[in-house]
Symmetry: C2
DNA sequence: CTATTATCCGAGCAATAACTCGCATTTGAC
DNA sequence: GTCAAATGCGAGTTATTGCTCGGATAATAG
């Protein structure tokens, strides 16, 4: 048994086996997360095995398991990374829009979705909608939800707090329609976005008008 | 190699290996589907193995594989069964409501959801939302979607057909919020249903008012 | 330079789960 | 009854895959 943490810091994430200390290994971890993100988005979590992740990252399995306790830990790390990334994007672009109209806010948020879902194409959608599959993943969804609750406090101050929680969850779910609605004849990306936008707008207006 | 289809009918479903001819085997197939439905709803597709399905059905694995080509075929058969079941329920309860108000229709549909999702608790939700996991499953969602398109022809006759398709997909997606929205503090079943209802109602009204 | 720690490797171990096969039993036609 | 087809069985085969291990290589301190 290799002493839990020889001389270094303790693992921050439960599934993290060892903290990278040299630049070399930090880049290795980054390569693994990049490869895993691409593969999960392309094939889905179940269809990706750790050997494949290591191969695409240009790394041996052994090295992979030196920094990640198991397969789930890779997904968890990705979720943490994207929770931060998405939260930062939202905070930056919505900071000054404190009293913006719903339509304006919705467009901003849809823009952020579109932009972030490009870097590794489909990864944001995967993280937002496949939440239930492997480990319970509150992370990425919660990044949006918690900020929505704050907005609702401004938009609908008379609403009971509990209902705000539920309403925020529903808004997030409707937004996920961006990824969950199947593309087919007549349902192009722009068509889906337009309809999701309408759905969000009408629902949010309802919330403002309600008590 | 056991002759493809000795003297009987050909398999109807691709994954179906052999058509049950005696009552005995028809009941066996039924028991397998029941057990599989319960298990999928409880644990999810990936966490269920065929040995477990056979065990809960009180059947040997060998018998199971005599009627289903592989694990996916069981899920496919379930999807077909529920596509019919859900379609029938919708047709029956909405037949006479040809010119009903949106609010009325929505309540009817939400009732159907609640009722059908009880028999094996959670199975309808599983079939509607886990669509992308194992095999592409257009079935159950399409049962609702196609009927919605027809309704939209009545509700919004001026709307371009392509947009109707997309709008119907979005409506189905919002309804799936019944299953996808996490339950937690403040988000009880009834709270979620109330918010989903509001979202549906406001969106559908938008569609009617729009061109 | 030397010692010590950190990093890296990839063949192989072990567990899991999908699926097969040969044979026993039941059903239904005659 | 008798026979053939249909059904039922479950131990065992096979392939996949998550993960370990022992040892080689590179960085860093003194």
């Amino acid at each position: 048994m290799p002493v839990p943490e020889p001389g270094g810091a303790a693992a921050p994430t439960p599934g993290r086996r060892r903290m990278p200390k040299q630049r070399r290994s930090r880049e290795l971890v980054e390569r693994i997360l990049t490869a895993a993100g691409e593969l999960f988005a392309e094939r889905g979590y179940a269809e990706v095995n750790t050997n494949l992740v290591a191969a695409r990252a240009g790394v041996s399995v052994g090295s992979l398991y030196q920094f990640f306790a198991d397969k789930d830990a890779i997904l968890t790390a990705l979720q943490e990374q994207w929770t931060i990334r998405l939260g930062a994007a939202l905070d930056e672009r919505l900071r000054d829009a404190l009293d913006a109209e719903p339509a304006e806010l919705i467009d901003e948020v849809l823009d952020i979705h579109a932009a972030l879902n490009e870097d590794p194409p489909g990864l944001l959608g995967f993280l937002l909608s496949s939440s239930t599959s492997p480990p319970a993943a509150p992370g990425v969804v919660e990044a949006i939800r918690s900020r929505l609750v704050q907005r609702l406090e401004v938009l609908a101050p008379a609403m009971p707090p509990e209902r705000r929680e539920t309403a925020a969850s529903v808004i997030v779910h409707i937004s996920n329609g961006l990824y969950a609605v199947g593309r087919s004849a007549g349902a192009t990306d722009t068509a889906v976005r337009a309809e999701v936008r309408r759905a969000l707008l009408s629902y949010v207006r309802t919330l403002r008008d309600d008590t």
